[in-house]
Amino acid sequence: MLGLRELQIGFAAAVLDGAGDFDQHVRAAGLSGARRLQIYRNNAVLGLTGALEAVYPVVRRMVGEEFFRYAAAQYIARHPSRSGDLHEFGEHFPAFLQSFVPAAELVYLPDVARLEWAYHQVFHAAGHPPLDLAALARVPAERQGALHFELHPAARLLESAFPILRIWQVNQDDRTGDSLVDLSEGGVKLLIVRRENLDIEFCPLEDGEFDLLRALAGNSDFASACERAIAAQSPFDLPGCFRRHVSQGVLVAFHLPSS
């Protein structure tokens, strides 16, 4: 007879890892103990696979249901769920796909998965009020270069060598017509951001704009972020770009380190 903890550990080993001798703790009446444990294994795998399908519908559509389920089962075994909140499950799926040999030919697949995980994060992220323009205007001109800015909690930057936005768009459920994307279209630099009305937008950015936001998101001060943007793209409308991302609620806060 096992105690509660030993039973739970034994159950997990049997159901998640396929360890063989736990069915002696299960009453066999009609159905065998092994069959009864198998029902719990199916339930767990189905539930976790469903959670992955909810976050990665485009990956699923691209590889097909059977392949997705196979990949999901491998993923679940290698990266078990670590939270009672299923929305946290699936974070490592893009990296898993990167090294998943059966998907190696789909070189763009991990980046499509990164886009879907970013979308999932943006969907559930906190809100934030717009930037306090009056407070920003009070910063003396000679101190502006030292400012640090924050991106909205529901904003993510993503860069890919593949046309992942086009791939995402042609693989939406409501999409009809041509679903071919020419990989030679090249890569994309994206801002994924949730707007005030809670809709999520994908904005392809030019090099300067992307580098400006990425530097600010990486906690660079304003002067060095601007330098990087100008180095990345010439000519670059720095004031226009900055104003746009403040007014559209992408840059939402700032602070001035004490000098």
Partner: protein, 291 residues
């Protein structure tokens, strides 16, 4: 006998002895636009654990129109791992924000060694497990500062270690901790069928004063060459045999808030409203007899 509580700033603060539905994302817009005639709504707490975005926004807009119950599926209250403090903190914040009339969890566990099944797993019904659950429910009620309800699960196996019938385990847990009982009549039917006990006897073993809420849902029959088993799938209407058991439950416990649960292969809202009306009719019969 209904006591009218003052409505909170958020909306109705007590749950009437009527039928309600589980609110799912697919029905957000239909609920807001058509305000279906259901007595109350229940949501899965974890679906609102995000920091922001549409789920919370919809719940904010729907809450003023219906009494609300929060039903947890991921706390893993029966696990021998330490309670997840962060999970509990998110639940507490959700309670503060939405002021639900009822908060419930399951008589089950869902994780060990930090690995989660995200499923409701069966407990061995032993003295050791009972003491563990008593301590855990007390701890959760302490942190939340309120009573919770504990729901009987559907189960597909029994451990040879189990020495206490589920109904005695559940009643003892409620009597010792002051938690209420969320009686899932479908789960009683499913487990009774799977393990060969008498569903009516289960109902008669639960004292009237403990039951605060009832759940109803549809199950699926899985057939194998060595027998069949009922699986609690929440993907179809309530079965006739479960309606019959529900009628017995209402006769015994009186009119109790009753939830129609439907989680996969969701139908149109109107189908859920039909189920609500069937449950309401049974509750009405009981009201009429009591009058």
């Amino acid at each position: 006998m209904s006591t009218k509580l003052a409505p909170s700033r958020l909306g109705p603060s007590s749950i009437p002895a009527q039928a309600g539905i589980g609110l799912r994302a697919e029905h957000y817009d239909a609920v807001l636009e058509t305000r279906p005639p259901v007595g109350w709504l229940e949501v899965h707490s974890e679906n609102y654990f995000g920091a922001g975005g549409k789920p919370l926004d919809y719940l904010e807009r729907i809450r003023p129109h219906y009494p609300l119950s929060l039903h947890g599926v991921g706390l893993s209250i029966g696990s021998t791992d330490p309670l997840d403090r962060q999970h509990l903190a998110k639940l507490k914040e959700l309670i503060r924000r939405f002021e639900p009339a009822l908060v419930s969890e399951h008589l089950s566990w869902g994780s060990v060694g930090g690995r989660y099944f995200n499923d409701l797993l069966p407990l061995p019904y032993t003295d050791e497990a009972l003491y563990h659950l008593i301590a855990r429910v007390a701890q959760v009620q302490d942190v939340l500062g309120r009573q919770i309800l504990i729901e009987n699960p559907s189960s597909y196996l029994q451990y040879i270690e189990s020495a206490i019938p589920e109904w005695e385990f559940l009643v003892e847990l409620a009597e010792r901790t002051g938690c209420g009982v969320l009686l899932d009549v479908n789960n009683i039917y499913v487990s009774a069928s799977n393990h060969g006990f008498d569903a009516g006897g289960y109902l008669r073993a639960v004292p009237r004063h403990l039951v605060r809420e009832i759940h109803l849902a549809g199950f699926t029959v899985n057939r194998f060459d060595d027998g069949e088993i009922l699986i609690d799938t929440h993907n179809r209407p309530v079965w006739p045999a479960v309606w019959a058991l529900y009628r017995q439950a209402v006769q015994r416990f009186g009119p109790i808030p009753t939830l129609i649960e439907w989680d996969t292969d969701l139908p149109e809202l109107a189908v859920l409203v039909d189920e609500v009306q069937r449950a309401d009719a049974i509750l009405e019969e009981r009201h009429a007899r009591a009058a």
